[in-house]
Symmetry: C2
Subunit: 239 residues, 2 copies
């Protein structure tokens, strides 16, 4: 029975797992859990992941949530995965764990916080507090600066890699969420970080043609959001 991946491509960790499976030729079945329809709260999905989050996997009788744990599991459970994705070397592996752990409270918190509070919440009519938006943008800019100066200082890929690891897939899929902002906003945020911009390109190339295919939903959503924003005068300035 093929690995089951419960996911919504609008979620950045879902895309990371799907992209990784595709790039590595893993035999898997993708099952949509539509987060805009709150399907992650359904009783059926609760039996898969009581945390109500995507992605989750089911491999035989084994259920697992949290995208980083899933990526590591797939690397170890499927013999065909090349070693550069999750090297056996103790020090290389420790560095990958370190950047993946750092991701949670830094890049993810900044990027997801900014996109949610500037765009998604407002489109749904929720109030957005300027302090919250400013704090998220601050965390994002600091995280991008750490990527530029530290995590990417020794190689084309994270933590000195000459080939991508699971950390590159995870973190680039996170940054891609900024596609939901306007081009102007995205360029203002990412523009100053030349190494980061090059690394995103290098990761896209290393995972082509799957990268664009997996992100297609996001690009389409961006167009739809632009259309909806045009109908909301208070959001027009952000286009």
């Amino acid at each position: 029975m093929a690995l089951k991946v419960y996911a919504d491509r609008m979620s950045q960790p879902s895309r990371a797992v799907i992209l990784f499976c595709k790039v590595n030729g893993i035999d898997f079945e993708e099952i949509l859990v539509d987060i805009f329809k709150n399907e992650q709260f359904s009783p059926e999905y609760k039996a898969i992941n009581p945390m109500h989050q995507v992605p989750a996997i089911v491999d035989g009788r084994f259920k697992l949530s949290e995208s980083h744990a899933i990526l590591i599991y797939i690397c170890c459970a499927f013999p065909g995965v090349a070693s550069h994705w999750y090297p056996g070397d103790l020090i290389k592996r420790a560095k990958i764990h370190s950047v993946l752990d750092w991701h949670h409270a830094n890049l993810r918190r900044g990027s997801a916080g900014l996109v949610f509070n500037t765009l998604l919440a407002q489109l749904d009519g929720h109030h957005s507090y300027p302090q919250v938006v400013n704090q998220a943008e601050g965390i994002l800019l600091k995280s991008l600066s750490m990527l530029e100066k530290f995590w990417l200082k020794d190689g084309r890929f994270l933590v000195g890699g000459s080939q991508p690891s699971i950390a590159d897939i995870s973190l680039v899929c996170e940054i891609m969420q900024l596609e939901l902002l306007s081009e102007k906003e995205r360029d203002r945020i990412l523009g100053p970080f030349k190494k980061v911009v090059q690394w995103i390109e290098d990761t896209k190339i290393a995972t082509a043609p799957h990268f664009d295919e997996v992100h297609g939903v996001l690009f389409n959503a961006q167009k739809r959001f632009r259309e909806r924003m045009k109908t909301k005068p208070e959001l027009k300035a952000k286009l």
Copy 2:
């Protein structure tokens, strides 16, 4: 040369690493980076960890930050560590990764957010927003509920363990930060979660006598904070 652990026992991930080393008889040197004196921002410490956070380790020429990555590294690099702390079995290990990843955006965010915004920020004269406090408490209560109903459902320790893993050390050290709140507040928050309370006790017993020794700084800080709060009328109600 012994492993160097840069830490401040007031930080919950610092305590997790120190406690783990002591319980496993690792030969290590503890170097205080006093976070209340902002020593994590010194040029000397920047050379150890540019992220300005504790803990970090130096093992020979290898530097590593992020407590979960450090705990995994020590399990793999030091032959004397018993296998229950980080089992080689693929599925057991995957579950440990999963709960450690979950910790970041859930238990840690709730617990650290609540303690900081109800106590530390106010003692330092920072303004604390009720929405922020309520949000942190909500995340904490939801996290404790998930621990009770899901992560502790299959055994005395997390993810079905009959002996503790690095995840038990990490998450219990996090919850211990609630000691900084008043006994009344702590009991109100933890009281309804009987399995969680028993698991904290079981982890204390499994790591005795080091557990109390490593948390001594926290217990002393609690007494000092109580004294300072008595001088602030607006905080007296929280004693």
